[in-house]
């Protein structure tokens, strides 16, 4: 089991920012025409070419779709869009980096100055930029030799990096923010964010402040591959750093890994602490410029975002926010459900009940299904839950006989008691009984 340190109320305030990498869903890689499907590849090194293998003379050509999707994400995170931006080379040596540099963005990212709302307050987004992913390393022992195996199917896949300000005040908030970002990327249908496969990777910059000021150090916890681990890692760091501070020691600025088995972070003494990436503008890719009008168009072409859908569905259809939260998972599903709600309203079906049914039958939501088919499916299945009329009449008669005082009050004009009768009848029949059917039957009986 994990040897988690217990967390006490602290005299220090957590100061935390996140750096989140997510692979973009595109047909081809970021700077070449190789297939972008590293997780679907049946063999290593089958999606490569001179460009993504870093062969002599291989030149990058930027994928327009990946740029547009990055900007879409930036706008969805309330960012401003750079009217002028460019790619830069970031240099370091590692066997999974074929060119000895990664094409990234240094001082002019596509998107900057945004924010995301969480239940514990707003977190500012510093920047959203686009870069290329590295290859994948596997560490093995082959014929007694310790080796690393390299697969470049993933090398050059478009990767967005979202960097937040150190506005996060708790581990739970960090987790919520990361989940919100994943929801947004999935909603926009620009990335799968499969955590186990590394489609989304989390890093937390953690430090503690005793006086509310920004501390002069931070530890970077890298390569976290689940939301739970993110929360654990931050909690662990909070306790570890508080202990050091209590003893009058300053935590060192360093990169730490996270051991999921022990639930602990550990120091990674790598060359990277002395890294000097020697950024300079990528000479092989001309810069990118947008006019203010193009930026406005991009803004206008943004789909309705999850929080906007939430507000509208609450207002227009009276749907429960908890249910909406579970249903707003993609643009296409939102568009489908909009039609479903309208049809349901026309047929006077209880929308929240329909919503629960859809959540329980999420599997039927395929790209091909129509609103009519969803409705039909719902009505079909709920019909089987309709109660036999004779039995219903028996139960109603019994309930009315058991509550003579309420019947009197109802007949005297206290119509809201109908709800009370419905509740009584439902407990005796089936909890899933059709409310419309029950309520109609009760009113009929009472009014006779």
């Amino acid at each position: 089991m994990t040897t988690q340190m217990t967390k006490q109320p602290s005299k220090y305030q957590l100061v935390c920012g996140l750096e989140i990498h997510a692979e973009l869903k595109t047909k081809s890689k970021m700077f070449c025409g190789c297939q972008n499907d590293p997780f679907g590849a049946q063999q290593p090194n089958i999606y490569t070419c001179p460009v993504c293998l870093g062969m002599p003379g291989g030149l990058p050509v930027a994928n327009k779709q990946a740029i547009e999707r990055t900007i879409m994400l930036g706008l969805a995170l309330n960012c401003r869009i750079s009217l002028f931006s460019k790619f830069d080379r970031k240099h370091y040596f590692y066997p999974d980096l074929p060119k000895g540099y990664q094409i990234s963005q240094y001082d002019q990212p596509f998107c900057y100055n945004g924010w995301v709302e969480t239940s514990q307050g707003r977190v500012a987004i510093t920047r959203v930029h686009l870069e290329e992913d590295t290859g994948k390393l596997l560490h093995k022992t082959i014929e007694g030799k310790k080796v690393s195996l390299v697969d470049f199917n993933r090398g050059g896949v478009p990767l967005v990096e979202i960097v937040t300000e150190p506005d996060i005040k708790s581990a739970e908030q960090a987790k919520e923010l990361a989940q919100t970002l994943r929801q947004m990327i999935r909603y926009l249908n620009i990335g799968d964010c499969n955590m186990e496969q590394g489609g989304m990777r989390l890093e937390a910059n953690v430090s503690l402040s005793a006086d509310g000021q920004l501390p002069d150090y931070k530890t970077e916890v890298k390569n976290i591959n689940s939301f739970r681990f993110l929360e654990q890692a931050i909690n662990f760091e909070e306790v570890r750093q508080a202990k050091l501070l209590d003893q009058g020691q300053a935590p060192v600025q360093e990169t730490r890994g996270f051991d999921a088995v022990k639930g602990e972070t550990f120091s990674q003494r790598t060359k990277e602490t002395t890294a000097d990436y020697r950024y300079f503008p990528e000479p092989d890719i001309p810069p990118l410029r947008f006019t203010p009008i193009q930026a406005e168009h991009l803004q206008a072409s943004l789909p309705e975002l999850p929080n906007q859908v939430l507000a509208r569905w609450q207002k227009e259809f009276g749907l429960d926010p908890q249910l909406i939260h579970r249903l707003v998972i993609s643009i296409s599903q939102t568009q489908l459900l909009d039609k479903v709600w309208q049809k349901a309203q026309e047929k006077q079906v209880a929308l929240n009940k329909l919503a629960v049914w859809i959540i329980n039958h999420q599997k039927i939501i395929t790209p091909q299904i129509t609103a009519d088919q969803v409705m039909a499916g719902f009505l079909n299945q709920t019909q089987t839950e309709q109660v036999d009329e004779t039995k219903l009449t028996q139960v109603i008669n019994q309930v009315l006989a058991d509550h003579p005082a309420e019947v009197k009050r109802y007949l005297a004009g206290e119509k809201k008691l109908l709800g009370f009768f419905i509740g009584q009848v439902k407990t005796l029949v089936v909890s899933g009984a059709d409310i419309a059917q029950v309520s109609q039957a009760i009113s009929r009986t009472l009014n006779n």
Binding site: G54, P60, V61, G100, Y101, R278, I285
Partner: protein
């Protein structure tokens, strides 16, 4: 009728033995007229290669050359299967490509550079891969890991570089035409030293895809040929937008042959760097040659330009920075040998580039250099508002003796000083032979420059100069 006569005479003179001396235009015509066969050309070229073996021109010969040539000829392709010498930094499918470095001593590309692909499609044949300064780092071909190439004009001397193998191949008539690359002088300087024509196109006119990168923001592949007309023909096949190179010009390529023979009458030409103290002696040698332009009806006058000495600094810094980055991929994991095989010149360039990009120094060196680069852009814009063309010497003097580069960290940069200002701003330029020293048999070259994308003007004036003077042996041969 006249044309037919000179042509007949030429063929008789060549006696079917010196067909290797044919220019591209002559060879195409002779093949089209069935005066000679492709086999005869190849035999002639092959014996020239054998005779010049001690010059160390070719690193690899293409064993498939004649088979490929036959196919191209039978398919009636524009270049008719003629043999082209290719600098060893162009990736050639299934043919070893080393960039003259031990790091790539076993590298066989699985792909063709775009220019090679286009050349093959047009019926050109890669005859062999020519020696060069390792990684194109140098102006001597002396930094090759396979030893220097010797100058065919006088083997005691260097051919210049970095495309020294190809310029020597052309000068020694071991091919019909050749391919080089230039970053700042690497086509024009060795062309000047070997007495051949070398065209550095506008940066972005010819695709860099598949060519071992040296300094990405200035690398320009270009033809090295016997005459200006040949250069126009070769450029036509090489140039144009490439989807695999984002920095290539998307506009249509003009027909470079169209106005080639229009002359220079009425053009305003500015003479650059005639007052640089180091050049006094050689300038006096070529002064009579410069009068040619006036004789042909152009207006020539000395022009005031920004001191070329600053361009050395700009070029050195930018190029070293880009080199340190471009050579980072050579780790020996996916191909080639590990980094311990990098030669001295590459090592010192990588070190300096790493330094000029590092924390605390990037502003002082790298960014400053890019700003001075803007000053040169501005300066050339001003010059071209006044002049149609600019001319200068291609380099400060005659070829240097073998061994001249030892211990000279800045040999090439000083050698290429006159070409660096226009190179760092991307301008096109051509070297045409403009003087020969009787005693040493060594040449001087004239550099003609035009605004971006105006190779047509360069070719036109180069052709006019070549026709009006006696320095080009092949143009004179008719």
């Amino acid at each position: 009728m006249m044309v037919f006569l000179w042509y007949q005479e030429l063929l008789i003179e060549m006696n079917h033995k010196n067909l290797n001396s044919l220019t591209l235009v002559q060879a195409l015509k002779a093949l089209a007229d069935k005066q000679i066969s492709l086999d005869e050309i190849y035999e002639s070229v092959n014996s020239a290669i054998k005779e010049s073996q001690k010059l160390n021109i070719y690193l690899t010969l293409n064993p498939q050359a004649r088979v490929q040539a036959k196919k191209a000829y039978q398919a009636h392709l524009p270049l008719a299967g003629l043999p082209i010498a290719v600098k060893d930094n162009y990736c050639t499918k299934n043919l070893k490509t080393t960039a003259a470095s031990l790091v790539l001593d076993n590298f066989i590309p699985q792909f063709d550079a775009t220019v090679i692909y286009r050349l093959k499609k047009a019926g050109g044949v890669v005859l062999g891969k020519t020696n060069m300064d390792a990684w194109a780092h140098g102006s001597s071909t002396e930094t090759s890991d396979w030893g220097p190439t010797l100058n065919p004009r006088n083997p005691k001397y260097l051919p210049g570089g970095s495309s020294g193998g190809t310029t020597a191949a052309v000068a020694a008539n071991t091919c019909i035409a050749g391919l080089g690359t230039e970053t700042a002088g690497s086509i024009r300087q060795p062309s000047a030293w070997c007495g051949v024509v070398g065209l550095k196109p506008t940066y972005g006119r010819v695709s860099r895809s598949g060519i071992v990168a040296m300094a990405s923001s200035t690398d320009s592949p270009g033809p090295i040929t016997k005459t200006v007309e040949d250069a126009a023909l070769m450029l036509q096949q090489m140039a144009g937008h490439d989807e695999a190179d984002s920095t290539t010009n998307p506009q249509a390529v003009p027909n470079f042959g169209q106005d080639l023979k229009k002359g220079v009458k009425g053009l305003k030409i500015g003479l650059l760097y005639s007052d640089v103290p180091e050049l006094k002696k050689v300038m006096s040698l070529i002064e009579p040659e410069l009068k040619t332009f006036e004789r042909l009806g152009a207006h020539l006058e000395p022009a005031q330009a920004l001191d070329p000495h600053y361009a050395i600094g700009v070029y050195t810094i930018v190029q070293r920075a880009e080199v340190s980055s471009n050579l980072a991929r050579y780790t020996g994991i996916r191909y080639g040998q590990d980094r311990s095989h990098l030669g001295d010149e590459a090592r010192r360039r990588i070190m300096l580039g790493t330094f000029t990009l590092s924390k605390g120094y990037a502003d002082r060196y790298y960014t400053t250099a890019q700003k001075v680069r803007s000053l040169y852009r501005r300066d050339f814009a001003k010059l071209f508002s006044k002049y149609d063309l600019l001319i200068s010497l291609s380099n400060p003097g005659f070829a240097k003796k073998v061994g001249a580069t030892k211990g000279e960290a800045m040999f090439g940069e000083l050698e290429d000083m006159l070409l660096e200002p226009s190179s760092i701003v991307g301008l096109p330029g051509i070297n045409v032979p403009c003087y020969r020293d009787d005693k040493t048999n060594l040449y001087l070259g004239l550099n003609i420059m035009a605004p971006m994308w105006r190779e047509d003007l360069i070719l036109r004036s180069g052709w006019a100069f070549e026709q009006a003077t006696d320095w080009n042996q092949w143009a004179k041969a008719k």
